[in-house]
Symmetry: C3
Subunit: 236 residues, 3 copies
């Protein structure tokens, strides 16, 4: 079963560890044994947290772009409605969501349903609201996290400033020969990871260290400073 999925992830953190901007979005193609992305499209987004519900529209656009490049059997969207097809999702299903979040979702629901119908027509592929139960969504999150490391490093170099990046939930970043791997630390996900290729070798132009987010258990962070370091072998 070939699954296409997308997620936005990793956030810049201010001095008090509040998330300010979501850094990256990724769409991925995942196939058996469902451990890593076989193919991906990623983008730096640096999007404000406030409007983050609209990110899901962008995520579905990325899935659409990936579907134009490669075949898949199903699309998993990062919305948790028990795997219901997106086309069948009505305002009624949103009724047990709390006030504010529901307002945001209602705004984008008709757009998402239209896009899901387009995808069904063009590719004969269903868009399912699997969300937190989906491993491909998790792999998209980790892939977005890996590219967020590159984008944050670039930002640190370009703006000659220290940048603090909050990684996705329960993962850590490890520098490898040609890029960065973001490994899951969630239970039973020891072999799940996201990978970003560092073509411009930006990771050689920054120093980065790992820390724990004191205000969000299970979340780790990286701090980037311009300038190379002697020992770049581990993101610690």
């Amino acid at each position: 079963m070939r699954v296409i999925s997308a997620d936005s992830g990793a956030a810049l953190l201010n001095d008090r560890f509040d998330a300010t901007l979501i850094v990256a979005a990724a769409a991925v193609l995942v196939d058996s044994p469902y451990r890593l992305a076989k193919k991906s499209i990623t983008e730096p987004i640096f999007s404000r947290i406030a409007g983050s519900h609209e990110l899901i529209v962008h995520e579905l656009e990325l899935c659409q772009r990936l579907l134009n490049e490669t075949e898949a059997d199903v699309v998993h969207l990062d919305m948790s409605f028990g795997g219901l097809p997106m086309e069948e999702l009505s305002p009624i299903q949103l009724s047990n969501i709390s006030g504010k979040a529901r307002g945001y979702l209602l705004k984008i629901l008709s757009k998402l349903r239209k896009m899901a119908a387009d995808i069904k027509r063009a590719h004969n592929v269903e868009v399912l609201a699997v969300g937190k139960d989906s491993m491909p969504v998790r792999i998209a999150e980790l892939t977005a996290g890996a590219y967020a490391v590159l984008y944050s490093a670039e930002k640190s170099i370009a703006e000659k400033m220290t940048v603090r990046l909050g990684l996705p939930s329960k993962c850590y970043a490890r520098k490898v020969e040609n890029g960065i791997v973001v490994h899951s630390l969630a239970p039973a996900e020891h072999d799940i990871a996201g990978f970003a290729v560092d073509n411009q070798q930006v990771l050689r132009k920054v120093t980065f260290s790992e820390l724990v987010n004191p205000c969000a258990r299970g979340f780790r962070a990286l701090e980037f400073a311009p300038g190379s370091t002697l020992d770049e072998s581990r993101a610690e």
Copy 2:
């Protein structure tokens, strides 16, 4: 404290990774330090998911059979009611369970209470509804998972077809000299496992590979095909 407990676990999965049949049931005796079963009774059940609430009656029957073979201080049943004695569980305690599940439970409640009373009378042992908090229930689940591996391998050989088995939550299977070990991957359960003895050496007659369940985070699966393999040393 010697605890007897039971659970049903592991499920055959179809092409879309929906669970179709629950494969095995196990009753276990667990004693300090509560890491592995000291004794077990297991059965292939291949039971439909729909009627899975009745499986708990069968689980308590397995506990009863194990109590006839060995002594214990308490029975832990896989029902989560804060450790309440089964005999004291009334329809009122079920009132905050959602509609459908409550209907199923009400049907089996009087049967379970009667069985608990029988066990109390015959063995002077209390049946507690500890459920998800119970480590012996977890060990029963992993033991059922280990035997499910054997039963699935047998099915693959007998029916000359590929079989896909979804393991219990947060665990993986590892082939050892004389059987199969299903190790927990849940936090703080690194030394908890279930074990199945492969007397018929059925694992030598199948090839099996490990994959991640894409539709259920934290769940891993195995695929069995008839025919031996050269490298059988790990269930990967």
Copy 3:
């Protein structure tokens, strides 16, 4: 960001693994990378579980004492109200807490608010109700757990009896040269730990073994008996 935090943790367990007395309280100072306490104040408390809501007042007192010794930017209290400043917490915020717990909290709320106001005035430091999201609270819990090991060993020696200690959630104890380390086993907390210095070398005067708490998944326990052992190298 220098964070001061406190927690009470680890409990004596009876033969049925019910918690009877909470053993230790700890206040800690934690700074980047937020993995271990930089400084701590700990106390044996052996407090009854029933009145455990009052422990939080004592925890804030320990934070106050630590603030008198060292500077900090913020205090994290083990109450989970989304990081709200303690001074702003009113009975209304407690309205979605269930009956009994709310009663306890209302009793201590005015006291906690007064203490938070005192801390703000004296040190210009805010007390935040971060609770379960706070890594410093977790480090305080593990530090309390490490000292609870020492206090339980002392109790076992003084009272010439076996003592069973339930460790905090998802951690294990490891004996080291000059004390005891309690390592987290929670996801993404592989480098988080609490440490207790064993000045009196009490750990040389007891034998202790590790077991799993059968009635509480994710919790491990230690059993102490007076008398030394030959192989004291690991808490297993």
